[in-house]
Subunit: 242 residues, 2 copies
DNA sequence: TGCCACTGTGTATGCCGCAAGCAGTTATTA
DNA sequence: TAATAACTGCTTGCGGCATACACAGTGGCA
């Protein structure tokens, strides 16, 4: 069993006792917050070891006293972007209402920090805030007959879907109310120039019909559609276990 | 309406007529295939404009005659990694069986190219093979009462979930049969060192129970779990529309 | 109390990657 | 036939990540 990575030691307050040497000039939270501020203002590509170091009054290489790599820095950033979950579940609410709230809160956090969905994904959650959100998701499913594996599996599916929804909506410029005639036209309009009816009959039909039914607010309506589908799947599973 | 990006023109065979100048020395497929071969052999980080150029007998900057950026090169790589869908749906099969096959085939492709799930996602599908897979997914849902938006939404949810499943399983070293006592122990064992029962009661319970019920083959069993949930959701939607 | 190992910061440096710009050659169009 | 667009190689600039080391500060131990 190897030692905890440095950044996790720091984030969790789990440093070994009796560290010698000068006291650190900054906390890992300060460093992460500086990186988040840069990403918020100038986008993810503006976050470099150098820009972050400058923002906290260090020189570049001192950051490696807190994180071993830039990848670890981005993990810290994501944890800070998430922050602790502060919402409350209504009293006596159904699991469905609670999970819906959980998913909406996550999407809100992600939307406030669009750069967070562009970060490379580095594995399962390990940081304090990320795990706090997992805990809140499990709390929402408390009292259901699902096994633990089924609970974790369901939360993962919703989380992954939600991230992708934010990312795709952002990339397509479809966050917020939009002209129904313009919704998805950038994607469909583009593929219309290359696909032929012989090879892509279903796609052409689906695309045209989607334009007819175009959402007034793609982000919100597709959120309901996709989350509804996932919740229905969970409901079916619960019904089978009852 | 702007011009099609160069790489899409090339991939779709949609170049304007009458291009002057020397004939290109390579096709975009050849360049993409060289990049895929490098990624297969040495991993994604070994793919640089330089290494790809060398592999096809060019110098670095000539690649920009085919793609405008490295990002476009990775889109070409992904399309080639997918290849055209070659599977067949059984005659008279249910939508559920067809979608299951579709999802499994995608996962197989992704598993054969684990680097493909690490690529940054650049928006909705635009390339020939990627769109062919979408077409096959729509074909699997033909005959169901779902609207086109619901169909696209369902396919997207499954695709996204499948990619994440491959990525996470690969990152956690959980592809193929494994010692049940070791499954997820790397993740849970790690968080056990930092989480406390007061703050994370549900997580600790879920983790311990998951270890008790540990899968013999995490990848396969979690695939069934997660896909089952999504399919149940689609089934509920279909039942409501019937 | 003094010595020494460990730790925090700055500095110097190396290597690599992406891509703008230009020169020379090739093939099509006017 | 001349002009022009397109293909390739070459040059170059800039920025980023991270190894290694010097110096100063702090705690553990004899």
């Amino acid at each position: 069993m190897t030692e905890l990575p440095r950044y996790l030691q720091l984030l969790w307050g789990r440093e070994p006792e009796g560290r010698r040497g000068p006291k650190p000039g900054r906390t890992i939270e300060e460093i992460g917050a500086a990186a988040v501020a840069i990403a918020d203002r100038d986008g993810l590509e503006a976050v470099s070891m150098k820009s972050v170091a400058q923002a906290v009054g260090f020189t570049t290489m001192s950051l490696y006293r807190y994180v071993d790599s830039k990848e670890e820095l981005t993990a810290v950033m994501l944890d800070l972007a998430y922050g602790p979950p502060t919402f409350r579940y209504p009293r006596r609410s159904t699991w469905r209402k609670r999970i819906t709230l959980w998913a909406k809160e996550i999407a809100t956090v992600r939307l406030a920090r669009p750069w967070s969905v562009e970060l490379a994904q580095g594995g399962p959650p390990l940081t304090p805030n990320a795990l706090s959100w997992t805990e809140r998701g499990l709390e929402a499913l408390a009292g259901t007959p699902l096994t633990s594996q089924e609970r974790l599996s369901a939360l993962l599916a919703i989380d992954v879907w939600g991230q992708n929804h934010v990312r795709l909506s952002t990339q397509m410029g479809l966050v917020g109310r939009s002209d129904p005639d313009r919704v998805e036209v950038s994607w469909f309009g583009l593929i219309l120039r290359v696909v032929d009816k012989e090879r892509f009959p279903h796609l052409l039909t689906a695309g045209a019909e989607s334009l007819d039914d175009a959402d007034e607010d793609f982000f919100e309506e597709e959120f309901e559609r996709g989350l509804g589908l996932l919740l229905d799947g969970i409901a079916a599973l619960i019904a089978r276990q009852s």
